[in-house]
Symmetry: C2
Subunit: 347 residues, 2 copies
């Protein structure tokens, strides 16, 4: 692990994106979104993903110059296609459009078909919350999760994001008083395969059951779950149902694919369906009123008796700002191997 100054990280990614055929403006945006992901401590979805993105461009499964397009619209909802361009850029454009629609109509949605991996899901939640909008968005994925009651994958892990804006000081929403939104970013699997591998490599058991072993029993042994390919959906039957419903709704609204139609080779994981829903709380209430509601709920959460003394429960996104500020002050922590791969792509 080493620390890279944020501007250096961003400009290195930008050079890599230019080499991969993105136009300058789009290379800059993609670099910012990716660098911000590492800056916020979500290292699985930042520069760690750039080599796969590069390989997908090389294989022709991602079209670096393809841009999202409007397909049809009705009132406050629109269908777009990602045209299999870079998924983070399409998602960013879709959330931007949902925000515009929400400013006009109180709420707005973009259903995006035929897109590619959007990298960090939470990116689009922060995007909305930093604009003062609430948002809900989700994507489907290739099938990597057995539904409840089955042993073979038929569900995606379909990350879901909820974002709620919150300013420390509504009278001074400046960078000195940063926004502290609530941003939930959760996949429908209890642990990703990446997380299972990380636990196995460290020789550790999972903190809670994460799937089934060969005898069909729940286990905290990551290697056993890797062998059975039976990771758990969150909440057992509940997350299984939620994953399925999110998948079908995204495909129906976008006119796109459901999980079972997406190739199972990660290098061919394209044709994803995504939903971006933005809601304007300030169309109904004042910032002062809205902030008081969020602050009251946060204070009540913090007041719950902690399991570990002096470690109160945290709200989704709470830890992010501290990580972000540390990254900006000391440099962004990156894995040495990932950094070398990125340097190679940026040469």
């Amino acid at each position: 692990m080493r620390r890279i100054p944020f501007p250096e990280l961003q400009s290195t990614i930008e050079r890599a994106m230019l080499h991969l055929g993105l136009t300058p403006e789009r290379a800059a945006l993609s670099a910012r979104l990716t660098a911000e992901t590492d800056r916020d401590g979500v290292r699985t979805h930042g520069i760690a993903r750039v080599p796969r993105f590069a390989e997908m461009v090389r294989l022709g499964s991602v079209h670096p110059q393809a841009t999202p397009e409007l397909v049809s619209s009705f009132g406050a909802i629109e269908r777009w296609t990602g045209n299999r361009g870079p998924g983070n850029l399409a998602a960013y454009a879709a959330m931007n459009r949902a925000i515009e629609l929400a400013k006009l109509h109180g709420l707005g949605a973009v259903a995006l078909a035929d897109t590619t991996h959007w990298q960090r899901a939470g990116t689009y939640g922060w995007q909305a919350a930093d604009s003062g909008l609430a948002a809900m968005c989700w994507t489907n994925t290739l099938a990597n999760l057995p539904p409840w009651g089955a042993t073979t994958p038929a569900l995606g892990n379909n990350p879901l994001v909820l974002a709620i804006p919150h300013f420390n000081d509504p009278n001074d929403p400046s960078p000195q008083k940063p926004s502290t939104p609530i941003v939930l970013d959760m996949a429908m699997s209890q642990f990703s395969y990446g997380t299972l591998a990380a636990y196995r490599e460290r020789g550790e058991q999972l903190p809670v059951p994460g799937g089934y072993d060969e005898s069909g029993a729940l286990t905290t042994d990551p290697a056993a779950i890797e062998r059975t390919t039976r990771p758990l959906p969150i909440g057992f039957w509940k997350g299984s149902g939620l994953s399925f419903a999110l998948d079908v709704l995204a495909a129906m609204l976008s006119g796109g694919r459901t999980a079972h139609q997406i190739p199972t080779d990660p290098l061919q994981e394209v044709g994803l369906s995504q939903i971006f829903l933005a809601i304007s709380p300030t169309s109904l209430g004042t910032i002062t009123e809205l902030n008081a509601i969020a602050t009251g709920a946060i204070n009540a959460l913090h007041a719950a008796t902690p399991v570990t003394p002096n470690h109160p429960a945290r709200y989704p996104g709470e830890a992010t700002l501290a990580t972000r500020q540390e990254s900006l002050r000391l440099g962004v922590p990156v894995d040495e191997t990932h950094w070398q791969c990125l340097l190679d792509l940026a040469k």
Copy 2:
């Protein structure tokens, strides 16, 4: 357990509601929604809840004649207040209004503050799906769930509903070809206290871990969880975050209360905040196209290798239609005690 013909069940509930002070039209609607809940096999939230409702009316915490009112609106989103009237009637009116907004704008939302228990969450999903609309709705509740990392309740179990319309035959959407929507109705706790009590009374262990015992270990012993009052959120930290985000978003959009502001006495559980979001898939696609997407996903789910041979994984709501048809054919199964309580209230 005995079976009561559906019309008799409905008319008995209706008499009880009239005695409790509901106007004839509202008593009839409340009776239908409650009878349909038992008809669909959700016995915890049908007539089982009528005695508590009656007691809340008697105590003045639910106002039987209060009706929901528009507070403010902006485009496709509206704020309403439930005025602490019967929660199922307010929720039904709110979803109806969200459906109207969605027909006008493609999507629409009603944020409802100061309402009371809506009984079966799924009711409002079926309501939307039977009208050809997709929907997402949720409610907050009194705090009954410790957040991840804490031992005292600070979260509601905040049931969440996703509903997706689906007709067997788009050319014949008649009662002979019933709608088979996908309707997910899930609380954020892995097991409710009612479910824990039912397992304990049967002397059974839970099928999966449901909370913590006195030593702080995960357990499948329902009695231990009742003693610690530490049931699990679904997906551990994930459901904890989702419950919190749903709570804050419902309160902010409705201008209402978050979980910590709701009295913890179930007989005083009023002032709830709820969201009703309806989306019109047919504003973007044809019924044939939409149905093909849902059918394809359902077929893929059914094709997954089942844990128990010949028992394929099911989609949310799949079992409901069979239960419903059996109830209509043979009578609605009701608990003898609940039925006698209802008869007393209907006298």
